[in-house]
């Protein structure tokens, strides 16, 4: 009996037991909701910007000297479109990764498919890598802004 107990201790490892399964199940459910909601909101935002963007640019042209602003409007519009495409691309990537985590983890747990479950965890990993990189860049900008504002206040 003691030998059997020590034998099982040697091979003791982490398990995806009922509690962990339930947590993953619930996490996948909420992350699927978040991903779908963000996808719909992003789509609506793009549609709104497509209509509002034109109005904003037209406002620029009407506000001042049309000849002088026409060129600037084109450059500004082009820059805004590029920025928008980058933001959209990143958002879409994060949404797809979150959705893959949700669907593959759920499918893996439901059907006992190890490879699918692992792919779900891989999607979660990549999601946090991209999210983490963006957060670090954002933190850097906020730090710079804080330093600049402190410097401006001190003068």
């Amino acid at each position: 009996m003691d030998q059997q107990e020590s034998h099982s201790d040697i091979f003791q490892d982490l398990e995806v037991d009922a509690s962990v399964q339930h947590s993953f199940w619930e996490a996948s459910r909420w992350s699927r909701f978040i991903a779908i909601t963000y996808a719909i909101a992003s789509g609506l935002a793009v549609v709104a910007l497509l209509f509002a963007g034109k109005a904003i640019l037209e406002g620029f042209v009407r506000a001042g000297n049309m000849e002088e602003l026409a060129g600037a409007t084109g450059i500004l519009g082009g820059f805004l479109i590029v920025m928008l495409l980058i933001v959209l691309g990143i958002t879409a990537t994060l949404i797809v990764l979150l959705l893959r985590f949700a669907n593959q983890t759920r499918s893996g747990l439901q059907h006992g498919q190890q490879a699918t479950f692992n792919n779900g965890l891989k999607s979660l990993k990549v999601y946090f890598i991209i999210y983490g990189s963006l957060t670090l860049v954002g933190t850097l900008f906020v730090l710079l802004a804080a330093v600049v504002s402190m410097f401006a206040l001190s003068r």
Partner: protein, 139 residues
């Protein structure tokens, strides 16, 4: 859409080497996200307070920044809990810590989902208010 609430399978999945590797990396980056986000929200709140002190008219900005920082803290402390407990559980092969870590991940997504529902409700109310005011002004 069937939602049985609990996976039913005769063949449960395990946490193999590949799965552990993915989880460990995910938890490490989640820790980075949590700490960086906490620093960002703290700095933003501090900047808003300093701005509010120098310009008393910006009280609403300070309050909004405070609420935002509070929500960020709630979310990212939960994420930090997932990161720390999962990494500890994986390193020490502690089932309890590992399960608690995954539970924190569940809580993180649940909090995010609830906040999203609240934000959606506010957006819908804002759109309705805008439509009503536009309708009234035309009348």
């Amino acid at each position: 859409m069937e939602d049985i609430g609990q996976p039913e399978s005769l063949f449960n999945v395990t946490l193999d080497h590949e799965g552990k590797s993915h989880l460990r990396t995910a938890a490490t980056w989640a820790k980075i996200v949590a700490i960086a986000s906490l620093v960002t929200s703290g700095l933003s709140f501090l900047t808003a307070i300093i701005g509010g002190v120098t310009n008393p008219g910006q009280a609403s900005t300070v309050i909004a920044s405070g609420v935002s920082a509070g929500i960020s803290a709630l979310l990212n402390i939960t994420l930090l809990g997932f990161a720390n407990k999962t990494i500890t559980g994986l390193n020490t092969i502690n089932q309890y810590e590992f399960a608690d870590g995954i539970n924190q991940l569940r809580r993180y997504f649940r909090i995010m989902g609830i906040l999203l529902i609240i934000a959606l409700a506010f957006c819908i109310l804002a759109v309705i208010g805008l439509l009503m005011s536009t309708g009234l002004s035309r009348a």
